[in-house]
Symmetry: C2
Subunit: 357 residues, 2 copies
């Protein structure tokens, strides 16, 4: 669906899509831009968007410094695809505008995830939820990218659900600092240095800094004691998996830069052995299964797009069940890469000839 | 039970006990010695023992530098009480010798924990297992101090078991570096500095350093995929609680200096509300229950002898159950303090008049 352009474009690009990245200067925005370059999405033009105070920056794309523009209603005119990761309030304000202007929006925030009619998608699990949505068609839409910890959980659970059924899941997370954004990473780095220099006792560090500590609170604690982060995992998991998958979860921030880990206990409907679980996971797309003694670690997995699963054990307190350990890069599969995977499928529908798969 | 002494002793000490600390120069040994000073144990004489290569050191006790002696069979002659924390092989070699010489030994290693006839004791839970054992009686004995993560778990579980019954428990741990000893702490500190200085990518750090990482392996991985650390928690919990308490657990090392945390999910036999769970735990000795929005943190709890419990939530995937978050100082309640509590009870039996409680 070529569009008239003012500047000359190479032939392959002329048949492509105009793609806006909202929140282009953030941790996830930068990863999305980098992955866009390597993706099979035919990008005719990249439009980096951000808040007005960041609009003096540039973003590197295909060897050029592309100026960041301030987000506005006009900015979405003629845009086919929007990748958004600038915070929930920004998405709530601008994605309905973009969709009304005909853009298909992939939103990395929690703003629309639980809305009826908004697909919540992990391509390995429920790509079919994207059917009928076509960037460049002029019919706008909003698609939600799930919570980072939810994404790696459902990828690991889906092959088990298909093969054995799932009765219930108990999860504890080990979530890295980069999941809280660039400001949190800077603060963590400073607090770590302060404690290393001054010793733990004398250090003047924010009371709840994750430096050399673990914090069993991410987001706000609601009336029933559950945090907003935990609620996301409880509610998003069944929506993505299209099944009643009861989840009890404790979300914990740990002093790791990048890479989320999860300890997962699953009671299955039917009998399952450790070997069964390894087999169905190894055959599932997007999962790397490690051998029995090789334990996936966040610092090692960071930079990789797969979900890594290891430490398979019998869940001996369950009638049928397994336990395992899941690690993924929260900025990649937990955010940018999942959004790009969604965008690639949408682009395949928009420009079938350009599809690499 | 006074003993003849060669050097003059103050009257209160003359009625007291000769106490040996085996592994006096280690992280836990030092804490035990410090806590001995403050305890109600009537210490007539302190005998710090260590391996021959550490026998040139001294240990501070009651304002004096007490020389560390090399452990030998002779060292236990006339000793009433031994507090041991010098590693499993040292305990296996020397505690039978000490017990044969008439000493009552409280062993912080895993050497004898699962042996029939060796009480495995957390005083809040099963102090009665100490009945009939009396230091100074000339009848030696070995008593085992449980695994650090097990201790804080059973303290939190016992009030629930008594009030509601327990069907099964799913636990994930967040264990600090000091649990692996002084060498591990030094290595962790060096690796942290290296990564802070060089950046994550360029840092030459041991592949499995816990610096800015989480390691889901403590101890060795056995044939069924369970680690030796996880096995300890599974086996020790029912022995201490004197009941069939099935536990599934994942043990994880986190980059925290001191303080272990645990995410705990419990299915109870009878109905239980969050308020019920808070109430029975708050009434139990040795537990500090935090209010709904105050989350216990290792860096904050370090230095305190209590087990801190917070983040109470309904276990909604269980018929009846609760979830909560447990934090304790692994060197204190998880090791030295629990040993001193055991020793205090033994001392009360030995010298009833001196008992503070």
């Amino acid at each position: 669906m070529p569009r008239p352009e003012e500047t000359p474009q190479p032939p392959s690009a002329r048949t492509g899509l105009r793609v806006a990245v909202l929140g282009a200067t953030g941790l996830v925005g930068r990863e999305m831009t980098r992955l866009l370059e390597e993706s099979r999405i035919p990008v005719a033009e990249l439009l980096p968007l951000a808040s007005a105070r960041r609009a003096d920056r540039t973003v590197r794309f295909r060897g050029e410094d592309v100026p960041v523009r301030a987000v506005s209603a006009d900015a979405f005119q003629g845009v086919d695809l929007v990748l958004a990761s600038a915070g929930g309030s920004v998405s709530r304000e601008w994605l309905p505008v973009a969709a009304a202007a005909g853009a298909v929006c992939v939103d990395n925030t929690s703003a629309f995830r639980m809305d009826d009619g908004v697909p919540l998608v992990v391509p390995e699990v429920n790509a079919a939820a994207l059917d009928g949505i076509r960037p460049g068609s002029g019919r706008g839409a909003i698609i939600a990218n799930p919570n980072c910890s939810t994404i790696q959980l459902v990828v690991a659970l889906e092959p088990l659900r298909r093969a054995f059924g799932i009765e219930r899941v108990v999860v504890s997370t080990y979530q890295s600092i980069s999941g809280a954004g660039r400001g949190a990473v800077d603060e963590f780095r400073a607090a770590t240095t302060t404690i290393m220099d001054a010793g733990d006792d004398g250090a003047e560090v924010k009371r709840e800094s994750p430096a050399f500590d673990v914090l069993a609170r991410i987001g706000d604690i609601e009336d029933d004691g559950v945090t907003t982060e935990e609620r996301k995992m409880v509610l998003e998991t069944p929506k993505i998996m299209g099944a009643d998958v009861p989840v009890d979860v404790t979300c914990v921030r740990v002093p790791v830069f990048t890479g989320h880990a999860e300890s997962v206990w699953v009671e299955t409907t039917g009998p399952v052995s450790v070997e069964d679980a390894r087999r169905v996971m190894a055959a599932f797309p997007g999962i790397t299964v490690t051998d029995a003694t090789d334990v996936p670690r966040p610092r090692d997995v960071a930079g990789d797009t797969d979900v890594h699963v290891g430490r398979f054990r019998d869940a001996r307190t369950a009638r049928h069940g397994v336990q395992f350990w899941v690690v993924a890069d929260n900025l990649l599969k937990g955010a940018a890469w999942n959004a790009i995977q969604i965008a690639e499928r949408l682009a395949d529908a928009a420009t079938p000839a350009a599809a690499g798969v």
